[in-house]
């Protein structure tokens, strides 16, 4: 019930409301701009939030993340280019609808379904997060380490094209996090005698490098390799209205998508793209008109959109209760908590309960904000995006990346880290490594190490402690099961592909 006073408090704060509204607009534009991601925008804005109050900073970035997820659907429907990975499933039916002159209709379905899914996720978060936190308080270091371990494995193996490269990305993230002084013994690790390295690698420059500068590198590469313009469909003459009769068949798909998204969101690392595709597949399987899916079915827009937005709320649960971010946006938000001296974990609900519920309230108001703007003005947002001169935008982003990475700690060493991280981020993208796994593992590594070493001390040096405790064993097995399921999935896909070729 803490959410109601929090909602009241946020609604009566005009400055905070203005920030939420601004974040909704920024997120939507960023999400809808092909090549720009909400993660990049949040990483770039992170240093600015150092100068804001914790609630203001967290609410601003959290709403950008939510709105950015929704904004991806605008690009998917109108430009046939998913603004975010999560909106790739929306593109399957969204673009054919736009080609058929129903772009406005498709965007309205996407908006309503996103709002339904996002609200479902947030309600589940508000209701369930207290219980998870209470449960998390009872976990000891071995159980916590087992959760970290399964998070590493799930994040590394489930997202991305290759299990091996995903796991390698996660391990690289852990190794980079190890640079600096050991927090327990004070011994230097991977510093090679360099004083600046003994302070470790900062989260802010690393994120800005990987997400922002890396993206600028990718954009200049794309520009050099292609000379094709983005084909845009949909206009004022389109059939933009949406009646209740048209949306009615979409509603069950949106609700099912919301449940799928919320369920997946609570598991670290699985992400909204997976939720969207599962929801799309499940929706098509249960649809009364499966033959229309893929050719321009409104239900095919509702199912993935509800799912990918429903991930947003529940993905905050592992972050807030265990300190385990479920997504890159979660990892950045963890950085904001740390920057403002707020310790994330089960005790957060004792020390900063009011802040957390106010953040949830801001998220809910953010949903209303992007829903309203999206329903009435998604086409206008698309027009704005088309007017953004990308040949000016990316150089400005490049320059902002440098100054933002410097501004975080006033350190030119951080600028060097950001530059190298940018190039590394581009290389990782180019060679199909998983940057999300890299960053999330970087963030998790210190906590995982601490709990691992505490467990070893508790058991007098024996690793059996992780197997002897049932909860710890359960999470370790979850990690192994995730890899097995992924391998099974890949083999199945390969079999289908081979079968397809034979048929041809």
């Amino acid at each position: 019930m803490e959410i109601f006073p929090a909602l009241l408090s946020v609604i009566t704060d005009p400055t905070l409301l203005a920030a939420i509204l601004m974040a909704a607009v920024v997120g939507m534009i960023v999400g809808a701009t092909p090549g720009l991601t909400a993660s990049a925008a949040i990483a770039m804005l992170l240093p600015i939030t150092l100068y804001m109050s914790p609630l203001f900073a967290l609410a601003f970035l959290y709403v950008i993340g939510k709105s950015g997820r929704y904004g991806g659907s605008i690009a998917a429907i109108l430009f046939n280019t998913p603004g975010t990975a999560a909106s790739a499933a929306t593109q399957i039916d969204g673009y054919p609808l736009a080609l058929a002159g129903k772009a406005g209709k498709a965007m309205k379905v996407a908006t309503i379904s996103s709002v339904i899914g996002d609200f479902m996720g947030d309600i589940m978060l508000v209701v369930g997060v207290g219980y998870i936190a209470a449960l998390a308080l009872k976990l000891g270091p071995p159980e916590t380490f087992a959760i970290y371990f399964s998070a590493f494995v799930v994040i590394g193996s489930v997202i991305g094209k290759s299990i091996l490269k995903g796991l390698a990305s996660a391990l690289l993230g852990i190794l980079v996090a190890m640079i600096g002084l050991d927090p327990i013994s004070g011994e230097e690790r991977y510093t090679f005698g360099n004083f600046e390295l003994s302070n470790g690698i900062g989260l802010v420059p690393l994120m800005i490098g990987v997400f922002v500068l890396g993206e600028v590198f990718s954009q200049i590469e794309e520009r050099a390799n292609s000379n094709g313009d983005t084909k845009v469909v949909g206009g004022d003459s389109d059939d933009n209205s949406l009646s209740w009769e048209e949306y009615k068949p979409c509603l069950p798909h949106a609700i099912r998508g919301g449940l799928i998204g919320a369920g997946i969101g609570i598991l670290p690392g699985l992400g909204s793209a997976l939720a969207a595709f599962i929801s799309y597949g499940e929706g098509k399987r249960r649809a009364i008109n499966p033959e229309e899916w893929g050719k321009g079915a409104l239900e095919g827009v509702a199912a993935p959109e509800a799912a990918n937005n429903a991930v947003s709320g529940p993905s905050m649960a592992p972050l807030l209760t265990l300190g385990i971010p479920g997504s890159t946006i979660g990892a950045i938000l963890l950085g904001v908590f740390l920057i403002h001296g707020i310790q994330v974990g089960p005790t957060l609900f004792i020390t900063d309960k009011e802040l957390i519920y106010k953040l949830f309230a801001c998220g809910m108001i953010g949903i209303v904000a992007y829903g309203t703007i999206g329903y009435f003005g998604a086409t206008q947002v698309a027009k704005i995006i088309l007017k953004i001169p990308t040949n000016v935008l990316y150089p400005m982003i490049f320059l902002t990346a440098f100054i933002a990475s410097y501004a975080a700690r006033g350190s030119l060493f951080d600028v060097s880290v950001m530059t190298l991280a940018g190039f590394a981020g581009w290389l990782m993208r180019k060679f199909d490594f998983n940057i999300a796994a890299f960053i999330i593992s970087f963030v998790l590594a210190k906590g995982a190490e601490e709990t691992f070493r505490q467990s070893i001390l508790m058991s007098d040096g024996g690793a059996l402690i992780f197997v002897e405790r049932p909860i710890a064993l359960g999470f370790l097995l979850l990690g192994v099961a995730a890899i097995c399921f992924r391998i099974r999935g890949i083999l199945k896909e390969r079999k289908v592909a081979e079968g397809g070729l034979e048929d041809a």
């Binding site: 391990l171 190794l175 013994s185 040949n391 150089p395 100054i403 006033g410």
Partner: protein, 155 residues
């Protein structure tokens, strides 16, 4: 072939990480070794890199290399060189001068051909960033070790 090279590079990184972990001194009695997690992660990375290398060898014979995207890679490398020079210039010359030089170079490399626009960026970019970050947010600007134009302008 690509997977084989990726595996080899990862193997090199993991070997470096193993060597770095070995450098961590032994623990005092009753403590855990500070190198245990780096060593564990490095060894796991080595296993993955060997796996990737072997996988790369298996498919290597059939894979054809493509040189179609070389143009883009060259652009990225050039931009990376600009980044390195820019970040080093910030250390030597402070913020204003390097930004005034890099801004038109960047705009040109992204396809802006308007000479007025490029000339304007020399003034507008450092000024805008200076106002936002160093005035509005109150960040202390980097001072150039060799020459600092901002210091000269401010007297």
């Amino acid at each position: 072939m690509r997977a084989f090279i990726e595996g080899l590079i990862l193997a090199f990184v993991s070997a470096l990480a193993i060597w770095g972990a070995i450098q961590v001194p032994s623990p005092t009695p009753g403590e855990t070794w500070a190198g245990v997690v780096p060593m564990g992660a490095a060894l796991a990375l080595l296993v993955i890199s060997i796996w990737l290398t072997i996988g790369g060898l298996k498919v290597g014979a059939n894979a054809a290399s493509s040189a179609s995207n070389n143009k883009g890679t060259i652009h990225v490398v050039l931009l990376f060189v600009i980044s390195i020079i820019y970040q080093q210039s910030l250390r030597w010359f402070g913020y204003v001068l390097p930004t005034a030089i890099v801004a038109p170079v960047l705009l040109y490399s992204f396809g802006v051909r308007s000479w007025v626009g490029l000339a304007l960026s020399i003034i507008v970019c450092p000024l805008a960033f200076h106002l936002i970050f160093f005035k509005l947010l109150g960040v202390f600007p980097p001072v150039g070790e060799v020459f600092d134009l901002l210091g000269k302008l401010q007297g």
